[in-house]
Amino acid sequence: MTTTASAASSPPTSSSTVLSVRDLRVHFPTSDGVVKAVDGLDFDIARGKTLGIVGESGSGKSVSSSAILALHNPKRSKVSGQIWLNGTDLLTLGEEEMRKRRGREVAMIFQDPLSAMHPYYTVGNQIMEAYLVHNAVDKKTARARAVEMLDRVGIPQPDRRVDDYPHQFSGGMRQRAMIAMGLINDPGLLIADEPTTALDVTVQAQILDLLQDLQREFDSAVIIITHDLGVVAEMADDVLVMYAGRGVEYGPCREILTHPEMPYTWGLLSSVPDVKGDTDARLIPIPGNPPSLLDPPPGCPFNPRCVHRDKVPGDLCRTQLPLLVEGNRGPGHTKRCHLANPEQIYETEVLPVIAPSLAEER
């Protein structure tokens, strides 16, 4: 019943590609039926690049990134497709092989750094642990390395703070420590799952700056999962917009933010407040709620909430799932929408409302 675009199933050809996800599906069988949290996802990410994954809660952002680390309980979930990391399909690996890659080839930073750290162990202990598990060194070396990393992420007096407990750190410092823990093994891929959501706005900017600095230094690929388009605009090279477990628009960051072609992306852009923007700009929430992943609506899963549905001839939106294909903007920018002239609708109907000054410029 599901059709996916780009059914490429060969390993990535480009040597700079760190991660290639092909037709990733994460299904959770429940007593009510199968929850299709991720249902056919494709994306690539190259060394040193940042991919932003955006979407509402429950769109499958975090579930797909957990799948990359194989953190889902195999008894309660079904993961299929291909996840090529540095030329190996992770989904074909055994648990022990996968474990050796976690933290070393791919690391993850979580949303709430307070609950993501064990309250009973010192920050240093937890960072050292990440190093010791993949490196045959003694504790003294690991400790020195932990101090070095804490220093690198901007913790003052790292040789003393290394013995503090997480509750003695501030929120921003905890997230810095989590970043230190994630990068201590110099992984090729870092997944940051809403790394700034639980932080103060002022601290958010610092953490994002830090992530960018470190990314340059370590030359790692970063996936940043967020619902904040501001973060995406600041960080990402590529953007993947997710809705109901599928990618609905995918392309270079600038392209997606300036020429979005999918009504859901328009909706996301419309609901972002702009501090610098003109006061005439309106905030327009997307009507309705994300669909049930247990029983998604037929056709395009966004159709019940889509205000532009009537512009598509016939019953197409309600009956047929659009493919993730190139639009009028040329290669590299794909979208999952039946609209024939999305660019025109965006320019004439959406932009004037959400950013009148921008619309005039064009």
Partner: protein, 338 residues
């Protein structure tokens, strides 16, 4: 931390004082005249008066209480009569500190009675404690790891069965079958370490310890299982896995550590309660522990012994609470007073 412990100890002593007063008032203000009981079978009014005087029962209750408290610290003589001490020292029973009273019924100081019974109860409590803690955590973790399977249900179900059986049933069952019929272990009898060495001591304690452990284990299995399962959903466990830690390390270092706090709380209270004697188990296996002593003294209306035991038990519970609170600070750094 040190100041905190001192503060807790002081408040513990105050609590104990209040406990002692309440116990004292309850028993000595009861309808039973302690002098009449202590006087024995061939009692005459004159003899009863003499007994009352010798044991201090002729004084007001509050004064008796202060005498009792002083006795704990300094020891006391029965009767406390300096004149008699010179003329006939043999008629005076000396009760050295800490004096918990003198039982005329048993013609023995309460301290001596307790001293004989306490090691037996302590040994029993300790052995049972180790058994149920080991069993509780091992089976609890095993059940958590196989949640929802037949293993999980089997462990939880079996533990509940043993919890539901009264200890006299489990005790008698084990006694009859394991010791007598199948002769797997020798007939349990208490032998102190000083008498027969550690092995004999343990051997004698195995069945009664098991009886108690089987009863207490159910709670610990459920608690361990619940808290380990809860920790599986914690973010820090996901972090531990994402680091690439081996499953065993994730379980032992990250998951079980989180389950430790509630277990310590429960264990402290249970162990303290058991130190005061396991009445039924001691009776089944015929151990002359504190529990048996307590039952005997209440049956014989031996008030001084009863008061002494109640106070000791209270002291154990208070002490255990302090120990548990101090342990919290070692387990959970967030509790440490800064």
């Amino acid at each position: 931390m040190f100041a905190y412990i001192i503060r807790r100890l002081v408040s513990g002593v105050v609590l104990l004082l209040v406990m002692s007063l309440v116990t004292f008032l309850l028993f000595f203000a009861s309808a039973v005249d302690p002098a009449r009981v202590s006087c024995g079978k061939n009692c005459s009014p004159a003899l009863q008066k003499q007994t009352a005087k010798a044991l201090g029962y002729d004084k007001p209750v509050v004064l008796q209480w202060t005498d009792f408290l002083v006795g704990i610290v300094k020891g006391r003589d029965y009767p406390d009569d300096p004149a008699l001490k010179k003329t006939a020292p043999a008629t005076i029973a000396h009760c050295p500190a800490p004096c918990l009273g003198y039982s005329k019924v048993q013609n023995e100081t309460v301290t001596t009675l307790v001293k004989d019974a306490l090691p037996i109860s302590l040994s029993l409590a300790l052995v049972a404690f180790i058994m149920w803690m080991l069993g509780g955590t091992v089976f609890g973790v095993a059940a958590a790891l196989r949640q929802g399977t037949i293993v999980d249900r089997g462990i939880v179900g079996t533990s509940l069965v043993f919890f539901a059986f009264p200890t006299f049933f489990t005790g008698l069952f084990l006694y009859k079958f394991v010791a007598i019929k199948w002769e797997i272990v020798p007939i349990p009898a208490y032998s102190s370490i000083a008498d027969g060495g550690v092995f004999t001591w343990l051997n004698g304690l195995f069945l009664p310890g098991l009886t108690l452990a089987l009863f207490y284990m159910a709670g610990y299995i459920r608690m361990t299982r619940a808290f380990v399962l809860e920790s599986f959903g914690e973010d820090y466990l996901r972090t531990a896995k994402a680091k690439g830690l081996a499953p065993r390390k994730v379980l032992v270092k990250h998951s079980m550590r989180a389950a430790l706090t509630p277990l310590v709380t429960m264990a402290g209270i249970d162990l303290a309660g058991l130190m005061g004697g396991a009445i039924i188990t001691e009776s089944v296996f015929n151990y002359n522990g504190l529990g048996k002593l307590a039952v005997l003294s209440t049956q014989r209306l031996d008030l001084p012994t009863t008061v002494g035991i109640v106070l000791m038990l209270a002291a154990f519970v208070i002490l255990a609470n302090i120990v548990v609170d101090v342990l919290y600070a070692f387990i959970d750094p967030r509790v440490r007073v800064g």
